[in-house]
Amino acid sequence: AQSVTQLDSQVPVFEEAPVELRCNYSSSVSVYLFWYVQYPNQGLQLLLKYLSGSTLVKGINGFEAEFNKSQTSFHLRKPSVHISDTAEYFCAVSPSNFGNEKLTFGTGTRLTIIP
């Protein structure tokens, strides 16, 4: 079984400042890692994903994340945030063995951008 821990439930950040949203996971098998964003009253949208290869993954809207296997982490970063980044962010894992691709989500981090 897999589990995901998002250490911060809420993160306030000033506009144009950098941000890091933390995610740690636990799994007995190899996993794929994901970050999703959820705007108010919307479904989830994929920001980026790590399947294999380079541990630094770049996604949409200027976000990037780094997979650290030794620390079982997949933290999300953005060098300069905008008001439009205000949303809920979810980290998720999925077993990488073929045919078992269900996602296990963390509890989410609410990112609030302060003008």
Binding site: L44, N97, K102, T107, G108
Partner: protein, 114 residues
């Protein structure tokens, strides 16, 4: 390309009543998921279909929840009878078959049980 369609967007029912949610996945997506997202929590997988067969329903409360995907396209999730703790957003997602396939989510149905 059309996204995942869900209806209704909002539903308010009294406890012990029944309710049904509908999902139309992206055309060609063999895999369909139903997730339950309780306020303040991440989505939790309820059931996963591969075409019209169930792959995983281990977290579906089968005494009150049921789901079907006839003909491997549209899907319906039903709750009967509803409890107060069923208040949540029910998200449908779909993907092509395979562990590397990206899941696309609908906007969800917000259920309030009073």
């Amino acid at each position: 390309e059309a996204g995942v369609a869900q209806s209704p967007r909002y539903k308010i029912i009294e406890k012990r009543q029944s309710v049904a949610f509908w999902c139309n996945p992206i055309s060609g997506h063999a895999t369909l998921y139903w997730y339950q997202q309780i306020l303040g929590q991440g989505p939790k997988l309820l059931i996963q279909f591969q075409n019209n067969g169930v792959v995983d329903d281990s977290q579906l409360p089968k005494d009150r929840f049921s789901a079907e995907r006839l003909k491997g396209v549209d899907s319906t999730l039903k709750i009967q009878p509803a409890k107060l703790e069923d208040s949540a957003v029910y998200l449908c997602a779909s993907s092509f078959f395979g562990a590397r396939a990206e899941a696309f989510f609908g906007q969800g149905t917000r259920l309030t049980v009073v």
